[in-house]
């Protein structure tokens, strides 16, 4: 009997558009990007007029460029900030909210709200908060008697100033995921533990955290790979790696080289680095944060 479900060709028919889409808009540009990294390109939309001399010039530059090292270092700091700041704080908040009886929905909405605001708008908002003269933070410090202004976006504090809004924005995202995970844990386990005399801390430590392991692994994988893609908020607050190119991330440095410095071929080389880094890190996180089938 002819049956649409038995014939494999229909499966390929349905898969074809998405496959073509990926070929056209992901894999083809990726390979073109690799080709472009060996060419001398000043303008977008062209392959340039000549090969670099030597053809691997950009890759040598990639290794020797101190700003690449800075951006890699900052990206690693961003990953750590994501793990500790975003997932860590989200876990703490989720556990706290899980232990209250009223207002769960309120906190869920409040913590999730920053996610719905565009990162660019948040960047502008935090620019005002961290403003040197008449910024909100410095005005508060003035109220408490401080006479000298603090340059929150200066060389010494720039990285911290950049990380705070990024961490703050995504805490709610992981909070909601972890909260859902906590809700899935059977209340009977907690009740049994309470009858056996377990304290609240012991219940969290011996029940909640082990049973949240898989959800935490998912959050950490999302967080680490997401940290590689952070772009708009840092760029809005610290365009061109201000100050002194100290705040570049791999993504913002690639954008800077491509769009601002008009060094398109070097931007393409940085894009290759980002892809390689993304693939390696996602494999690493998958291995480190491997989900357990015991839970």
């Amino acid at each position: 009997m002819s049956n649409i479900y038995k014939s494999r060709k229909y499966v390929f028919l349905f898969l074809a558009p998405a496959f073509l889409f990926l070929i056209l808009y992901l894999y083809y540009p990726f390979f073109v990007n690799i080709y472009g990294s060996f060419r001398g390109i000043k303008n977008l939309g062209t392959f340039g007029t000549k090969w670099n001399t030597p053809w691997y010039e950009n890759y040598v530059k990639l290794v020797t460029d101190p700003v690449v090292r800075t951006s890699l270092k900052n990206t690693l700091i961003m990953i750590v900030a994501t793990i500790i700041g975003q997932v860590g704080i989200a876990l703490l908040l989720a556990i706290l909210v899980d232990n209250i009886e009223k207002g769960t929905q309120f906190f869920r909405t409040v913590y999730f709200f920053p996610i719905v605001i565009s990162a660019t708008a948040l960047g502008l908002l935090f620019n005002l908060i961290f403003l040197y003269d008449k910024g909100m933070l410095n005005q508060f410090l003035e109220l408490f008697g401080r006479t000298e202004l603090i340059d929150w976006k200066g060389e010494k504090l720039a990285i911290m100033t950049m990380m705070i809004p990024v961490v703050w924005q995504y805490v709610g995202f992981y909070f909601v995921i972890l909260q859902t995970g906590l809700n899935n844990i059977s209340q009977e386990l907690y009740e049994s533990a309470a009858i056996d005399g377990a304290t609240r801390f012991q219940r969290v430590w011996y029940i909640s955290l082990p049973l949240l392991r898989n959800v935490l692994c998912t959050c950490l994988t999302l967080g680490v790979t997401g940290a590689l893609k952070v772009f708009d908020l840092p760029w809005t607050m610290f365009p061109k790696g201000m100050p002194l190119k100290e705040t570049f991330l791999t993504g913002t440095y690639m954008y800077y080289q491509t769009m601002e410095a008009k060094n398109v071929d070097y931007g393409a080389t940085l894009a290759v680095l980002i892809v390689v880094l993304g693939v390696l890190l996602s494999r690493l996180t998958r291995r480190v944060f491997k989900e357990s089938e015991d839970f």
Partner: protein, 479 residues
Amino acid sequence: MKLKKLAAVLMTAIMTISLAGCGSSAPEAAAADAPTRTEAPAAEAPAADKTDKTETAAPAETETASGPVEITVTTTFAGEDSNAQNYKDAVAQWEAATGNTVSDTSATSDETFKTRIITDFETGSEPDVLFFFSGADANDFVNAGKVVSIDDIRAEFPEYASNMNDDLIAASPANGVKYAVPVNGYWEAMFVNTAVLDAAGVAMPDAGYTWDQFLADCQKIKDAGFAPIAAALGNIPHYWWEFAIFNQQTPANHLNIPGAADDATGAQWVAGLEDIKDLYERGFFPDNTLSATDDETFAMFTDGKAAFLLDGSWKVGGIVGSCQSDPEDPSTLDTEKLSHFDVTYFPGKGNRKTTDMIGGLSMGYYITTKAWEDPDKRAAAVSFVEHMTSDAVVPLFAQHTASALKNAPAVDESQFNALQVKAMSMMSGVTSLTGAVQDLFNGDCRVSTFDGMPEIVVGNVSAADAVQEGIDVYKDTLE
């Protein structure tokens, strides 16, 4: 079963069509349609326009047979630009007279704006009409044939820019052809917050102000607890770059591009950048000059926390706006506050006289090839530029700067505010007006000394290395 097969085929077809739709070539389709609509451009509309252009500046009726047209326009008349409101008014006047509409994407002029424009051209999303620099910044899209020359437009619209003195219209450095119809000129000079000077016991600089006097005054101002210079070196070092180099040169050789950092011109550039480094080391810039934006340091200047602001004629409007309780309403101007602002020449050094200034006609209206080849938009774009460059509109924009009009009307100073009058007074003492060499030293050549300025002033990169890097990129561009 047949129904399921049919549904599967239909869904696949719809998905495929959706994908194809993403990459459809609408421009080609439009081009294919073009011959059937050749009557659309109101080719003679500008002729009607020219008769009343000098009297009322009423724009021509360019509405095509197919109805009102929307053209996209990008200018730098935005933000704190002196002419932002004049631009809005002039556009509204043109829209009311023609029935056409303008989709405006104007933005404040800075390096990001320039990059955006170049990228728009490269990706085929350029506007129909563009107000942009006529120097080397436009080379990429001029070389790509993406804008129409004034001569080509005049072949069809003989009166196009006929009210302009052709000798004053800048030719593109790319090919010597004239594309951009200028509106108003510009000058760059040093704005002064006299309230800060008074508080620091410093006299208002005059036409003989020297670099050494400037350094001494900056020290006094710093000692009095103010920032001597309002500048964001990590954001907009352009004006300091230009004048610091000019100070090592004369108007006769300022537009020379060095062949190497250690040749005569290169050494002047290096010396100029080292002067900026010296100012930084003396602590004459704001504490946050490397992390601040231009807006922040401008606010310091207008709030009476910094004494000197090196900027362009377009900043007059921003300063006046800061003295109004409603920046959109001139009637709310606080004249007392405005009286504390003045403008003077950049301190002279070496063979450059204090009264030698940077200025000229560096920008103008381009009509893009995309608009020109669109039969619906061609006449509208021409009409728009003719209106914006008419004898009635240009003087409103030019104010205290120059214009390229053949019959420029006498300036009515009674309409000027105090700062504009002071600007006119300064301009009357100018001994020379030289273009900015950064307009010839194209985009990416400037990266090592513009974006790299913070690293130069803190000593991470030597001025000589930064200049040489820029020259290497410049030479590479010429190849």
